[in-house]
Structures are given as C-alpha cells and as structure tokens.
Symmetry: C2
Subunit: 369 residues, 2 copies
C-alpha cells in the first residue's frame, strides 16, 4: 500500500429480513455503530462511498451516495460503486485509491442491500443483471442455474460427490450459530443439505446463499490509526458471460487478484489465518479455496473434511448462513475479519468477494498491527 | 492535482436514438474512437471505470465494469460508478483518485446510457431514482415536475419572464447545429420554446433535455502526456430530497465544488473561456451560471441575452440539444471542452455535471498545456 490505511471503525446491522426498515434506515444503523466504535467522529468523514447493486431495481432508488451523505450533519462528497455482488469490496478498493491519493483522509464505506420485500421472481431477474443480459439471461438461466452448471462440471471433472459438497453449507451454518449478526443460526447436517429441495440440479436449497437485507459500514482512514490496517487491496476481472469462459471449474480472476494481493502485502499465503470467501453457492467455496491456493485443483473439499487448526474459513457463517445482502457482503467480510483477528490475536486475515460468476473479484488482506 | 493527469484520448458516439445498438455496442464504438485518438494502445489501459445510471432498470444489466473490460483484449480491472446524472463526472473524479494514488497509470472512463427503447413512463420512473424514493416520488413528482417547481420559485423570486427563459434552449439548439454529434441540430426560436407543449408548468417541452442513447470515452493518464490535462476535479453533495432544501433557486453543491475547483486549479474564474453546464432543464442553466459565479443571483439569464465574447456556454449544444444519455453526459462534457480549447487556443475550460436536483455535483477544469 502507498500509505497505511487503518480500519478506524466498523458497524453492521444483523443480516436478515428487515421488512420494516428502509435502505436509509439500514445504512443509518450501520453508520451509527461504525462511528460509535471509532476514535473519530462524524465530522471527520470527508468522503462516503456506498456499495450497492440492486436499489434501483428493488427500491427505485439510485443516487445512494448523497442519500448516505445526508445521514451525517455535513453531507460530505459521496458516490456509489457497483460491481454486482462484489460491490462491497470494490468500493473498499476505490476508497484505497482516494485515500492513497491524498484526496481523502477518512472515508466511510457503506455496503447496503434490501432484497426481501419484493417478489422472488423480481429479485431473481434483478440479480441476473450480474450476468450478461445478451448472452446468459436469454437462455433462461438464473444464478442458481449458472452455479448448477458449475457444480455439474466440477463433479464431472473431479468426482466430487453430492455428500461431500454438503459438508460446505453444514460447516458454514455451524459457524453462523456463534455469530449474533447471522441470518441463519440453526445447525444443519450434511444430510439436511443433501435432502433439501432441489433448486438447480445438483444444487439444493441449502447450497444457496439466501436473499437478505442488511448494511455494513467501515471507516477507513490514513489519519486515525487503529490496530487493524489493510495490507492489500486488489481487484481483477473476467468475462461476464459464462459462454466466454475456458473452464467452469476455476475462476481466474480470483487467482489474479490473489497473486497481486500477496505481492502487495509482501506475505506468504501460509501467514494467513482467517479467510472469508464468497460462498454464494456451496460449490463456489470449494473452487475459491483452490483458486486462492489453499488447496490443489479438485481438492478444495478437503478443507471442509477436517478442521484445519491454522486456517478458519467463513467463521462468520459466510454468505450461506450469515446472509448475503449483496452490496453489503464485501464490507461485512472485512468487519468479520477484524473480529476474528481481534479474538485470535493472529496477524493476517483475507477476504475474497466476487460478482456474478467471478467476473469481478476483489481481495483484501487485513493485518493486525 | 497531486499528479499531472492528461486527457490522452477521447471518443464518443453521436447522441441520439440508437435502437439497433446495445449498451455493449455503444461502449465499443466510443472506446474504439478514444483508442484511435490516443498515443497509447488498448493494452496500456490498466483500469476501466464505467459511468452509468440506468442499465439495471432499462436493460437488466448491472456489472458494467467487467462487461466493458471485455471489450479490451486483456480485460483489465474495472468498476462502475453511479451518481445519477452526475455519474460521468464523478467517475472521472474517481479515476483521478486511482491515478494520483499510483494504483493506476492509464484509466479508460466510459460513460454510457441507453434510454430510448423502453416506455416513456418506465424511463421517467427510473430517472426518479435520482430523487428521494421516500420523500419526493410518493407525491407523484417527476424530474420535469421538480424543475417546474424550481422554475416557478425562480420566476417568483427574481421576476424572470417566460420569454427570457426561452432564450436558453434557443441558444443551445443554435450551438448544437454546429455539432455533428448532437441529437438535435435544428434551430429553434425563443418563440418555438415558449409555444411548445406544456410539460410541467412553466416548463415546456423545449425547456427539457431529451431521452437519449450514447456513450463517451475518455482515456486519463499520468504516463501518456497530451496537450490537455485536468487542472481540477472536485465533487460536492446536497440533500437528495427537495423537501430538505432551504432554497429551490440556487444549488449549494455547485458553489461548493466550484470554490474547491478554482482553489485546486489555482486560477481565477475569469481565466475560464468555455463552460459546459448541466442544462437538464433550461432553468438549471440559468441557476448554474449564477452558482458558478459567472453572474449574480437573479441575473443568470443575462448570459443568454447577449453573446459574451470571452465565455462560451454549452457550445456543444448542452444537454438540451446535444442530448443527455445520463451516464455519458459528464464524460462528453470533458470531451467537448477539449475540442473547444483545441479550436480556440485558449487555456481553461470548465464542466459542471450534476445529479438529481444537484444533490451531487462534479466540476472539472481542463487546461490546454
């Protein structure tokens, strides 16, 4: 990093179904908590970046930058960043640029999404905006369908069994049971996953992250120091349409961003103790573990077959069990990484947040200093 | 500016009704022209920022960053910035941060919007996303309605006549007649404006910028020098809802951004020879001229009563006559400023691009070096 960027404050709403709260109210709750946790106060915020994917479709509300800015008394300059489900982490990356340039000293990044109070078919259509509207959507594909194809390809290529795949969501639910901010804190057995309703064969309902409401806010500062700083912030891109991919069983954007992130942080992969990865569907978690280099290709499931004492995966419950209000997820992953480092006293955590079928990917490395 | 940021290449589609071109095709055309005009080539682009407001609502397409990145052979890291009708200029501002931070050396900023192939009522609803969905939209207001209130307030406060207001669009049309990229190149007399169909009293059809398709691309670089650089890039914020405003006859975000921009560029206002201002409605142009400090409050119309030889206003035709594909406008303003400086051999031009009723505002000063 060009400058030391500290995580000076964090706050989030519990993720869940918040029919009685508007986007503005969700943001306000997260922002208030972030400010409470910080050394700085509201007037120290000189820029706001809102991460959001769906508000235009689901709430007829664009222009979330100024809408959020007006939660603070001085309405600082503000903008919105969108990169589908990677909006949160890509907003954090954008904040890094503005901080390192010296244009900003203290930025409030707010990830927010309100998804549960519109019809499932409408939210499904809106989410397909993360895929290619000319190449993917006209075939009738939805994201469960796309990741169903990914899972089928992976099972065919590497022999992953349905029973083994069920370990992923089962573990994430077990982790979420300890997280008071998680949408689903119930334990589910691998058998529960395998026997849940079929959504897009071979994926079952419990392979899929839920529709969620929630907000997460993070204050990044070069001025107000804290015990946590960003050691790396990297983004990468791939084709939006799955029809343009050489393979469905690995996501090159993750590999690209990861390699740049390790170089930026000047660390080795095995120095990382906690990872929060983008398990929009269980199969994505398996592939992510491999693309991040924590397992060989085809062996990602091994990370779920035994507890690895030196590496926690989605200790928050991940997207599956903590919830996935899409614009908020990338910010929330960083908040949870801070919590995990605080508890474990370890030095490094990593977050991986992607959009679509990993057409955009952002990786952050968080360091306890 | 922390670093010299050059405008290394520019390109745009004509603005108009492009029913036969998709968002991807519009972007591709603008990008190809920008690359043709530049010293660098496609592989020198290390980051892409897409400015867009409406594609999720109008084309079911989010995730425009990677979609645009795939127009280049190496699909560089990409993101989308949105701030309603100010998306274009706020994307340029975001690019400045990434360039000054050293994270990027050469950024392709693409503004794009496709608005004409959906029903007018749908585009009107989508555009209301720039206002406050909880405070403004439920009253049945549309943007012509909001600016109708602005015009009524202004006329009441300053005695502006309907006949005088008609000078604005008449001038912008006369300017557009010389611009081959303009959507409307027909001359209209002030009488034509006054007698055109009433839209939201006192505003007539010819007071309102049109619904447009188009794309504009600008290559910004700290590495590839050119004869044009950004001397200032500043943004400011105001309340999204007009119900939270102290006045409807002046937009404080313009004043705020302007004061910061002059300071950043280290110039006086009278050193500026060309301005491209955000005339989404004719009354906005009058107010903008005042808020930018080129006229006293209540006297903005004087700039349209006589040609001012030292200052051109919307020589491109502005939003009214050149067209207003909302995400593209802020980028296109900078492209036109470069053209104007090139022709006039003058040193400074200024662009003002705002979102909603100036809830977000971005000002750029362009210098010929």
């Amino acid at each position: 990093m060009e400058k030391a960027i500290y995580i000076a404050g964090t706050g989030m709403t519990p993720f869940g179904e918040w029919w009685d709260k508007s986007i503005r109210e969700l943001m306000d709750e997260a922002v208030e908590k972030a400010l409470e946790s910080a050394e700085c106060n509201a007037l120290d915020i000189d820029t706001i970046i809102v991460a959001n994917m769906l508000a235009e479709s689901t709430s007829n509300q664009a222009h979330l930058g100024p809408l959020a800015a007006n939660l603070l008394p001085h309405a600082p300059p503000a903008l919105r960043v969108e990169s589908a489900c990677a909006s949160g982490a890509i907003a954090m990356h954008t904040a890094c640029g503005l901080l390192e340039s010296g244009r900003s000293e203290t930025i409030l990044v707010i990830g927010v999404e309100k998804m549960t109070d519109i019809a499932p078919s409408d939210i499904s259509t809106a989410l397909m905006g993360a895929a290619d509207a000319e190449k993917d959507a006209p075939c009738g594909l939805t994201f469960p369908g796309i990741f169903g194809l990914v899972a089928s390809s992976y099972m065919n290529e590497y022999g992953l069994t349905r029973e083994d795949l069920s370990l992923v969501s089962s573990r994430h639910h077990a982790n979420a049971a300890k997280n008071p901010y998680a949408q689903f804190r119930n334990q589910v057995t691998p058998e529960n996953v395998t026997n849940s309703t079929k959504v897009a064969d071979p994926l079952r309902m419990l392979d899929c992250s839920p529709i969620s409401d929630g907000a997460a806010a993070c204050i990044l500062s070069t001025k107000f120091a804290s015990s946590f700083r960003l050691a790396a912030s990297q983004i990468a891109t791939d084709s939006v349409s799955i029809t343009d991919r050489a393979s469905l069983t690995s996501f090159p954007a993750t590999k690209d961003a990861m390699s740049k992130a390790l170089k930026e942080a000047e660390i080795e992969r095995d120095e990382i103790n906690h990872i929060e990865i983008h398990d929009c569907f269980s199969i994505a978690a398996v592939i992510n573990v491999e693309d991040l280099g924590f397992a060989e290709a085809g062996k990602g499931i091994n990370a779920y077959k035994k507890e690895n004492s030196s590496l926690t995966i989605n200790a928050s419950g991940g997207l599956k069990a903590c919830g996935h209000p899409v614009g908020a997820t990338g910010v929330k992953q960083i908040i949870d990484s801070v919590k995990q480092l605080h508890t474990s006293k370890k030095q490094f955590a990593l977050t991986q947040n992607f959009g679509g079928a990993c057409a955009s990917c952002a990786i952050h490395i968080i360091e306890q200093v």
